[in-house]
Point group: C2
Chain length 427, copies 2
Amino acid sequence: MDKAQIKESILGMGAKARAAAYALAVLDTDQKNAILHAMAAGLREHRRDILDANALDIAAAEAHGLTAAMLDRLRLDAPRLETMAAGVEQVAGLPDPVGEVLADWTRPNDIHFEQIRVPIGVIGIIYESRPNVTSDAAVLCLKSGNATILRGGSEAIHSNQAIAAALQSAGETAGLPENAIQLIPFTDRESVRVMAGMDQWLDVIIPRGGKGLIETVVSLARMPVIKHYDGICHTYVDKEADLAMAVAIVDDAKTHKPGVCNALETLLVHRDVAAEFLPRIAAVFLEKGVEMRGDPRTLAILGDAATAATDEDWDTEYLDLILSIRVVDTMAEAVDHINTHSSRHSDCIVTADMARAESFMRRVDSACLFHNVSTRFSDGGEFGFGAEIGISTDKLHARGPMALRELTSYQYRIRGDGQTRTKCATT
Amino acid sequence: MDKAQIKESILGMGAKARAAAYALAVLDTDQKNAILHAMAAGLREHRRDILDANALDIAAAEAHGLTAAMLDRLRLDAPRLETMAAGVEQVAGLPDPVGEVLADWTRPNDIHFEQIRVPIGVIGIIYESRPNVTSDAAVLCLKSGNATILRGGSEAIHSNQAIAAALQSAGETAGLPENAIQLIPFTDRESVRVMAGMDQWLDVIIPRGGKGLIETVVSLARMPVIKHYDGICHTYVDKEADLAMAVAIVDDAKTHKPGVCNALETLLVHRDVAAEFLPRIAAVFLEKGVEMRGDPRTLAILGDAATAATDEDWDTEYLDLILSIRVVDTMAEAVDHINTHSSRHSDCIVTADMARAESFMRRVDSACLFHNVSTRFSDGGEFGFGAEIGISTDKLHARGPMALRELTSYQYRIRGDGQTRTKCATT
C-alpha cells in the first residue's frame, strides 16, 4: 500500500473506533465483566492460532538475528498464554471507575452540579515487541469503557493480530461492540505519523517503548500524549538516617531488579554519615558485582572500590548493576541534585527525622516520593491498583503509576428546572 | 535580535521560571495571599505607568487601523484597572488547592500512601490582545503555586509589560520569588515556536485566542496543551419538554450574550413537538432579530421566517444572532447529531422525563451537559469556582470550566519504616 492508502485505512479505523467508544460508554459493569470473561476464554480457545502466529514471528526474528533476550520477550508458550488469560480475568475483578461521582454541589439558584467519571473515548497505543501488551492494554481500556487502536511493532505483528482478533471475536459473543479493539496492520513509521495526526479520532496516545519511539510520538502528536521517559531514580541517605535501614533500602532499590524503571540509579549521601555509610553499602555492592561511579568525595572514602563519575553519569539510566554516588553537604544540595537530574519518576529519602522527611517531600518535584521505603515499590501493583497501564513521568492528567482511573476523564452533568442566565445568574 | 538570540533569551527565562517554581511550591497560603494583596496595591500604585503604556498601544493600534471593537478590547482606563486590581484581591480570597489530600491508604505491608495536590510547575500562556489576561492568568497561576511565562500579542505589548512589571515588583515586596511572573518581550511567531519546543522548562502551555493561534500551538507543542477550540453548543427540545421552559432556555442560550462560547448555535427539536414549538420560539427570535437557518422540515413549519441551512451550518460557531435548526425523529438522532457536530463544550436537553434526560446525558460526549438549564451557565463563575482561566474542550487533565484546581497536579508521598521489595512485596 502507498502512503495515501495507509492513511485512508487508519483514518477509517479511527472513525469506527469513535462509534465503538459511544457504544462502550453506556455498557454497565456487569456487561463489561462478562465480555472480559469471554475474552479470557477466547484466548484459551484460540491458543493454537496464537501460538502458530507467534511461531511465524519467532522464525522471522531468528532469521533477522535478534538477540536471545529479544527472542525471549517475543516468545509465547502455553503457560505465558495462560498468564495472559488469567490477567484478563483479574481485570474483570477490579472495581469499575466509570460512573463514580467525583463531586456534587448545588448553587444558590438551585442548579445542581455533578462531576462524574466517564471513559476518555478512543485511546491509541503504540508499543514495541512484547505481544502481551496487546492483551493488557486492550483489556484495561475496555474495563474503563474506552475503544482502543493498537499499533504494535513489526517483530510481533502476527502474534498481535492473532491476540487482538481472539479478544475482539470472543468479546463480541458477550456483547462487545464491533471495532472496540482494532490493531493497525501496518508497522512502518508512516502509521505512527498518521495516528499522531488524527486528533479528530484519538483522544490520547500512549507510546510504550524505547526513547526513540516516544520522542517521535511527542514531536508528531496533535493530541495529548501520556508517556514514560526515563526512570532516573535517586535515594538520599540523610545525616539522620538509620544506616542499617539505608543499606537495606539502597541494596534493594539497586539490585532487586536493576533493569526496571523504578530501580535506583544515583545514591546521594550526607557528608556527616558518608564515611560510615559508604563502606557498608560498598561491601554489599562489591559482593553483588555492582559497579560504583563516585564523585571525588566518594572516591576519597571508597578508594579503588569505585571509579570516577563523569557529568554524564548523573543523567544516565543504567538499567544495570551500575550506580552513581555523590556526597552532599546538605539536604538542600540533595534536593537540588534531584530536581536537576531526576526524571521525576521516583525518589527516596532515608531519615529518622520526620521534619526533614517532610521538607524533602515538599521540595522534590517527582511523581512518587518515598520516605524509608525502597523506590522499587513505585508500581501499580504495589500501590494496590490491581493493574498498571504504565507509569507517567508527565505532570498533567496522570502522574506516576497508571491504572483504570487514569484511563478516564470526567463530565459535568447539570440539572435544573428552567434556569436562564437572564433571570438566575449568580455572578 | 536574530532567531538564535530570541531562542537563547526565552530558554533563559524558562530556566529562571523553573527555579521560581521550586520556590513558589513551598509558599504557604498566607504568604501567597499577602503577595496577592501586594500585587493589587501595585496595580493601583503603578496606575499612571500602566495607562501611559496602554496609550502607546492604543496610538499604534489606531495608526494600524484596528476596528473600534478591537480598540475597546485593548483600552484600559481607571475603572478597568480598578476592576483588574479587585480581581487580584478576589483570587486572594479563594481557597488554596495546594496541599489537599486527594486520597490516602495503607497497604498490608504497612506502607502508607498519600496522594496530594501540588502545583503543576511552570505554565506558559500565549494570548492575544486583551491586556487584562496578563493579570488574570498570572494571578491564578500564582495562587495555585505555579510560575508563569506569558507571551501576549504585539498590540498590547506595552500594556502587558507594564502590568507584569507592576505585579512582579509589588509581589516581591511581599515575598514573591524573583521571576515568578515573566513576560516574553517578543511578539513574533518565532517566540511561540521556541516556547512550544521547550518542554524541559514548560510543564503545560495554554493558548488563548483565535483558532489560528491555537492550531499553531497544537501543531508545534511538545508539552501538554490545554485549549479551547470552538463552542458549538446545542439544545435539544425533547418531545416531553415543557415548551414554555424550552422557549425561555433556548432564547436565553441564543440571545443573552451571543458572542461567547457557551451561547447556543444549533437547536434540535423532536418532530412530535416541532409544529408547536418552532413557531413559538420563532416569534421570539423574529422580534430579537435572530436569523434562523433550518433543515427542510424546519422550513416546512417556519416558511419564510427561516432560510435553508447548508451542511456547513452544522459545524459553524456563529458567535452572532444566527441559529441553525433541525427537526429530529428521535432522541438518538439528536445524540448522533451532537456527537458528530458538537465541539464537546456544552449541550442541553429540555425534557420533563427524567429517564430520557439521564439517557441523553450518558450518551452525549461533551464536557458539560445541561438538563433544563441554559448552556450560558457553562462558566467558572456560575459553577461557583470563583475564577476561570478558561474552558477546556480537551478530555485529559481538565475538562470544562478551569479554575485553580485545574492548575494543579498531584504527587504521591509514600512513607514506611524500611520496607524493601525483596522482603515486603505484596504482589
